[in-house]
Amino acid sequence: MENRVILDIDDVCIRYGEDLAVRNVTLPIYENQITAIIGPSGCGKSTLLRSLNRMNDFIHGCSHTGGIALGDMDIYDPATDPVEIRLRIGMVFQRPNPFPKSIYRNIAWGPTINELKGDMDARVENALRRAALWDEVKDRLSDSALNLSGGQQQRLCIARALAMEPEVILMDEPCSALDPVSTARIEDLLFELKENFTIVIVTHNMQQAARVSQYTAFLETGKLIEFGETEDVFTNPKNERTEEYVTGRFG
């Protein structure tokens, strides 16, 4: 494992009120790699993912212990501005959530409010190209984003995150609401994005994890059961729970 660690998750526990949803998870996220987080429904995948860009701040009663560092930025230091974190760590959600605005303005929204420099048209085109959506929408950038199909909307949301040029992109089951063709397109896309971005993807689809990721973390009831290179986790798991899960015997 000669890759550089970009996100360092150290002994993280997350509670909803009294309920412990994530238990003492320690996990490295490697730069320019795709890390998949897998595990049965309700095991804390989304909770862990959302803690990485402090999206759990908005959930009443959610509390956090342990450290998460992005380079030299301590994400849970009270002095750290969450806006600063989210500029460096983007997110794509389970259901496509484009703004009820035009395609162009969806992409330009984040860069505009954060006053990012540079030519906006070029930025929008670049983001759409990277999200493999440009050819489909280049003639109707001023149409409402809500007229796009579900798969296109999700790629638009990916483009929207890319336009911010973050270092890390978090994806929470980005294909769970999509058909197989759209899913395949997004999986292809992930491969190219990995050149420039670090991706953490939550999925409960094990084939997807095996196809797209270089590293895999397996969670169960909030605990990290196993973490390693994807190939090892799937073909030669160290833990028998992992083996049972990846071979489809439960979950």
């Binding site: 999206m55 908005f58 806006v83 959530n97 009820p100 605005k101 809500l146 995150a161």
Partner: protein
């Protein structure tokens, strides 16, 4: 329909142009004059003044309630709004006379005892709860996924509120706006008490005026015999009122369809 029949026979006597463009409204006095403009101007001032009070404050409090307020703040603010909505309108009228007008007088000494401004302010306060509550519903209906999407792009809560929640809830705000205007047009009791009963073609809010509805009430309660021309003015004024309200609703529907930001 009685409205049309009576209006028609009224227009047999008074030419339409005199009615619509005349600047004196004195159907019960001598010399008689039947220009509806003073009543329109009075109504217009009440509506604009009340909207200026109710819309900004209503929208702002709704945004505060739906985006910022803690559960405890909501539990205290909501009942206050409901109490405001439940106060009889005559109380608002007296509040205007005994409190708002003297206050206006200290700022603008030329304020008359009965004046449009003080009536507009209390009508604004009166419709505020309705505006706030309708807007609150509209903002609450904006899906959370949009807020999360905006936050994930590095937005502050102020940017999320003003640039995502507000535009997404705009159709609801417009609907509230139209209802607010309709209520301001329809309000008579507080307006008669505070603004007086002087049909007056003016846009100076510190003067006494009369609105269309206030006139209708005044004549209905008086002893104007049925069948007279003075009696028919009632129907003519009511017809104008009806057309304006209808026009507003049509306009509102058009605006809603045109500018609606739909979301799933």
């Amino acid at each position: 329909m009685v409205l049309a029949v009576e209006t028609y026979s009224f227009l047999q006597t008074v030419p339409l142009t005199d009615f619509l463009f005349g600047t004196q409204w004195t159907p019960l006095l001598v010399p008689k004059s039947y220009g509806v403009l003073p009543l329109l101007a009075g109504t217009f001032m009440i509506v604009v003044g009340a909207s200026l009070v109710a819309i900004p404050i209503g929208v702002a409090s709704a945004l505060f309630l739906s985006e910022y307020a803690s559960d405890r703040a909501k539990r205290t603010l909501k009942p206050i709004l409901e109490v405001l909505a439940g106060i009889p309108t005559v109380v608002y009228g007296f509040f205007a006379l005994t409190y708002v007008t003297p206050l206006l007088k200290t700022v603008f000494p030329e304020t008359q005892v009965f004046n449009a401004a003080s009536a507009a302010i209390v009508v604004g306060i009166m419709i505020l709860p309705m505006v706030a509550s309708l807007c609150d519903d509209a903002f609450r209906a904006v899906p959370n996924s949009l807020r999360e999407g905006a936050y994930s792009l590095g937005a502050t809560s102020f940017e999320v509120t003003t640039r995502v929640v507000f535009p997404a809830g705009l159709s609801g705000v417009l609907a509230a706006f139209v209802l607010a205007i309709s209520r301001a047009i329809g309000e008579t009791m507080a307006v008669t008490l505070a603004a007086g009963a002087t049909p007056n073609l003016t846009l100076n809010p510190l003067e006494s005026i009369q609105t269309m509805t206030a006139y209708i009430v005044q004549v209905s309660l008086g002893d104007t015999p049925a069948g007279t021309l003075a009696y028919q003015t009632l129907f003519a004024v009511a017809a104008v009122l009806f057309l304006i309200t209808l026009g507003l609703n049509v306009l509102a529907n058009y605006v809603l369809n045109r500018f609606r930001e739909v979301y799933e």
